[in-house]
């Protein structure tokens, strides 16, 4: 955690609530992106991000300033997403991607139509690949391979052990490979 963040945390804890925004501002996009990849629904992602920020504000006193604020925030988001998923979805029900047209436009906002198309494909492909994973595998895969956290950090965020992370990561990577081979054979052809 850098010095500026430490100062902001201290200010918030002293009652200066306006210091909370500059503290979380650098992570607002990362939080929403991770929430979207976990929930696969932009409205849910917004709710999860809001819930995570509320909890972060509420429990800021418990944060150890020697550790990474981003990791701590990600850990809260993971819990919020997990609880949101359990509330919103009855056990056994599948997950469905639902983006409003405006969100779709926003997600693909770029000037190049060809790139737009490619990104649309990539987005659905990424989401599709993630759909084949269990909740824990998805969390581990997103944190380690997409957010590029280390194994130790991933374990810390998920309050799990490094061994458990390795096991889930290995399974997730193999499933992703199989998923690409099944669903996107044209991409898999390009591997060789």
């Amino acid at each position: 955690m850098n010095e500026q963040e430490k100062r902001l945390v201290e200010s918030v804890l002293e009652g200066e609530t306006d210091a909370f925004e500059p503290l979380v501002l650098p992570y607002r996009q990362a939080l929403l992106t991770l929430a979207l990849r976990l929930s696969r629904n932009i409205e849910d992602a917004r709710e999860i991000s809001q819930e995570a920020l509320m909890r972060a504000f509420k429990y800021l006193r418990t944060f150890d300033t020697e550790k990474s604020f981003k990791n701590w925030l990600f850990g809260i988001l993971m819990n919020a997403a997990h609880q949101h998923g359990r509330k919103a979805r009855p056990a056994g029900a599948g997950v469905r991607i639902s983006l409003s047209p405006e969100d779709e436009r926003q997600l693909r906002a770029t000037d190049n139509p060809e790139r737009n198309h490619r990104q649309g494909e990539f987005k659905s492909m990424l989401m599709d690949c993630l759909d084949g994973l269990s909740r824990r595998e998805r969390e581990v895969f997103l944190l380690r391979d997409i957010e590029e956290r280390s194994i130790r950090e991933t374990a810390e965020i998920l309050r799990s052990s490094s061994v458990s992370v390795r096991v889930h990561l290995s399974a997730a990577r193999r499933k992703i490979k199989e998923r690409i081979r099944e669903r996107f054979p044209e991409l898999a052809e390009g591997w060789r």
């Binding site: 909370f20 925004e21 920020l53 926003q106 990539f122 492909m125 399974a171 490979k177 081979r181």
Partner: protein, 220 residues
């Protein structure tokens, strides 16, 4: 290293999460085994593809007004919560050892109460040992004292059993007499002496019990 073992580790190695001595053994195996090498390569390329897809995708963005509104809600809710916490009487959470202590205290009170109750019961049942001479109706205190000290000895001439038997109805009648309620008991060592005095005839009967409650009779 076997192919099965190698397959379980290739996914980790493909993402750069498997290093060290075992990784060297795995590399050697991959150099020898074409199948495992292909598996490793497939996972590595799949990972690279998915990472580049993730990097290229346009991340969702907060609309500025939406972000401000959301943050405003977060801050105002927390501020309200803090105000409410300050205005409401402070609750001191009871720690775990507090509950355990309270439980032990209750148990201790119950046990002490039970023990005290038993002690009281015993003091009612067991005759009180008296140091001073027992005052027995119709008998001088000094005599009573003497008798208390010599509880183990039977005073006077030996009374034959039939005489004791014949005396029993009299004693029972004495017990019935209200004046005889002053009959005293004394305990010395392992024996207990009981004196029964008749107000009408002046007859005094001493009963000396040993610890087995066997008794001897002495009449005066």
């Amino acid at each position: 290293m076997t192919c099965r073992k190698a397959r379980s580790l290739t996914a980790l190695m493909a993402g750069g999460d498997f290093v060290g001595r075992k990784a060297d053994r795995l590399k050697k195996h991959l150099g020898r085994c074409a199948e495992c090498r292909r598996e490793y390569e497939d996972i590595r390329v799949a990972l690279e593809s998915i990472k580049s897809i993730a990097r290229e995708e346009a991340p969702p963005e907060w609309r500025e007004t939406e972000w401000k509104e959301m943050l405003g809600r977060v801050i105002s809710q927390e501020a309200t919560r803090r105000k409410a916490a300050l205005s409401s009487p402070r609750r001191h959470p009871v720690p775990g050892w507090g509950y355990a202590g309270a439980f032990l205290a209750v148990v201790a009170i119950v046990v002490i109460g039970f023990v005290l109750k038993n002690e009281r019961g015993k003091s009612v049942n067991v005759p009180v040992t008296q140091k001073e001479p027992i005052v027995i109706a119709g008998v001088e205190p000094s005599q009573a004292g003497q008798k208390q000290e010599k509880t183990a000895t039977v005073r006077g001439p030996e009374i034959p059993k039939p005489a004791i038997e014949s005396a029993r109805p009299q004693i029972q009648s004495i017990k019935a007499s209200p004046k005889i309620t002053r009959a005293e008991k004394a305990e010395s060592g392992e024996t207990m002496t009981m004196a029964l005095v008749s107000q009408d005839t002046g007859l005094t009967v001493y009963w000396v019990f040993n610890k087995n409650f066997e008794w001897k009779e002495d009449k005066k």
